[in-house]
């Protein structure tokens, strides 16, 4: 309903009947190409043959100001990457929201907005706004930031405390998301983030709670083969855990940014935990240090990632191994296979061609650890480890 109202309001505003309507149009384009040096693996959409799809994004944003404190925003994005390649470059409405300024300090929004998990989550599509080719996957991996956007409300409060400028944001909403592999239903997401800035330094704290039901179609089909009419309590608990319905997920993070216009530093640490179920629990961090020399901004990123799947499920199976002689090992295998550990180092450079156009290159050396695939995906599902892999990416970012 709300999306229709917003579109209607924007349409009316653009009509000749609307006078003194203020609007702004902006757009962004990221053309990106990538290749990695090992056969049989994927990093997002990058594999060992050069592809232009992986991070390529075209987006447009229209903001319309109805009155001094009332406006609407719509953002449409076409992405070159989708999980199953069926939706490549299909335009999607990422954001569609109404903004109302209650006071000069307090702004509330309703509609569809970006989920502000981490430092750059809200402008992750706008490559021109950050130094990297893409924010480090070790923190920005979908397992730690499953929702790009959500439907709901938020409140943004600007305040000052001593020399500090503080932006507090509270969000509340819900979202559904599905691919050919899984369906994720976020019944509720609530979160708070605080960002404190002073001169060139800022620190950001964020915490989100969501109530999630996850259906991995393959797992469900598989699970149904083993369901019986009279499961034992131990079996019933196992099915419940694998089912992952209404599981609470927590996302916490701390991020710092310092930028004195010559040197810049970005660093973040995040933790994604789930209360139960066959769901991921992980943590990640990165540190980026960069330096601006004229139009060049070289940077170095060091990052770490660890992800475990279904730790509660594993505990249940191990504690009741005698009662789960057959089902136990069956579910332990995928848990073990989906452990992911990665350490990476990336060297990149951004070259600002003009104020609105930049070219970026990055060489990433990712080492998967503990016999896992790290953040790579193996094209052959029976291979659950990856050797050290180098990923080379090139991107042209334009804002207009």
């Amino acid at each position: 309903m709300l999306p229709r109202i917003i579109i209607l309001m924007l349409a009316v505003s653009f009509s000749p009947f609307a006078r003194s309507f203020d609007y702004s149009l902006s757009g962004f384009l990221s053309l990106s190409a990538g290749i990695l040096d090992e056969e049989g693996y994927l990093y997002a959409d990058i594999d060992d043959s050069l592809s232009f799809n992986n991070d390529t994004i075209l987006g447009g944003q229209i903001s319309g100001q109805f009155t001094d404190n009332f406006s609407a925003t719509i953002q449409v994005i076409a992405r070159g990457y989708s999980a199953d390649d069926s939706d490549n470059y299909k335009p999607a409405i990422d954001w569609l929201y109404l903004t109302y300024d209650i006071t000069p300090e307090l702004r509330v929004r309703a509609g569809r907005m970006a989920t502000p998990y981490y430092l750059v989550s809200e402008y992750i599509e706008i490559g021109a706004a950050y130094p990297w080719i893409r924010p480090p996957f070790e923190v920005y991996d979908p397992s730690a930031a499953p929702l790009k956007s959500f439907n709901g409300i938020d409140a943004v409060l600007r305040s000052n405390w001593k020399d500090w400028f503080i932006i507090s944001q509270f969000i509340f909403g819900q979202e559904e998301n599905s691919t050919f592999l899984y369906e994720i239903n976020i019944h509720r997401i609530a979160g708070l983030n605080l960002s404190f800035s002073k001169n060139d330094f800022s620190i950001r704290l964020a915490h989100f709670v969501s109530d999630v039901s996850l259906s991995v179609f393959l797992t469900e089909t598989f699970l149904n083969l083993f369901r019986t009419d009279n499961p034992t309590p131990v079996e019933a608990k196992l099915f419940d855990l694998v089912d992952s319905k209404h599981v609470k997920h927590f996302y916490s993070s701390i991020g710092v940014n310092w930028d004195n216009d010559t040197w810049f530093v970005y660093s973040e640490y995040n933790q994604a935990t789930s209360e139960a179920g066959f769901t991921p629990t992980g943590e990640g961090m990165y540190l980026t240090v960069g330096y601006r020399i004229g139009k060049f901004s070289p940077y170095l990123t060091r990052a770490d990632f660890r992800l475990l799947l279904g730790s509660d499920l594993k505990k249940h199976i191990l504690n009741n191994s005698s009662e789960l002689p057959f089902l136990g090992p069956l579910f332990l295998n995928p848990i073990e296979d989906n452990k992911r550990y990665q350490r990476s180092i990336a060297l990149g450079v951004r070259y600002d061609i003009t104020n609105a156009m930049s070219l970026k290159f990055e060489a990433l050396n990712a080492t998967s650890q503990r016999g896992s695939v790290g953040l790579f995906t193996s094209k052959d599902s029976s291979i659950t480890f990856a050797p050290p892999i180098r990923v080379y990416s090139l991107a042209l970012d334009i804002v207009f």
Binding site: S26, F28, T73, Y97, R109, P116, N160, I167
Partner: protein
């Protein structure tokens, strides 16, 4: 003889050289006057604000101050759209930052909708008109362009050439 007295006579000083030296001296003295252009921070003539500090002005133009100090009045900051010398001089004077850096600062807020950058106008005349008609307006123009219809709350000497 006092050895600290500088002997200004040069052995082969020709009129041409004397002229050249004098011209250079005049140019040197005149240069600061050419290079300095003061920037005036202006508000509406009826604004309750009579003076602002450099830091306050900086925070207003970076979106970090939403009301005029010691008043309840919301801030409506506005500035010229194009990246001209006046804008460069202003941001260099208040924040020691180039306009490029200021644009980089705003890029992240612009697309997230958390706060809005100063409203963009296309000429100094438009700025003056808007300030004259907006009780909560604040902007900046070159001191020499300030009309009597607006109030100056701060003057910044700048080192940028016009």
């Amino acid at each position: 003889m006092n050895k600290f007295v500088l002997d200004t006579k040069t052995p082969d000083s020709s009129p041409w050289q004397t002229f050249l030296y004098s011209a250079m001296l005049i140019l040197l003295l005149a240069l600061p006057k050419l290079a300095y252009c003061d920037i005036a921070i202006i508000v509406n003539a009826n604004s309750p604000v009579s003076a602002l500090t450099k830091d306050q002005v900086k925070n207003i133009f970076l979106g970090r101050l939403t009301r005029f100090p010691n008043t309840n009045m919301a801030v409506s900051a506005m500035e010229i759209k194009q990246n001209n010398a006046q804008k460069e001089a202003f941001y260099m004077a208040i924040a020691n930052k180039t306009v490029n850096k200021i644009n980089r600062y705003w890029a992240r807020y612009l697309f997230t909708g958390k706060m809005s950058p100063p409203k963009k106008l296309s000429s100094n005349q438009e700025i003056i008109d808007s300030i004259t008609n907006t009780p909560s307006g604040i902007s900046y123009i070159e001191s020499s362009d300030v009309p009597t219809t607006v109030k100056v709350v701060l003057t910044l000497p700048t080192e940028q050439q016009q």
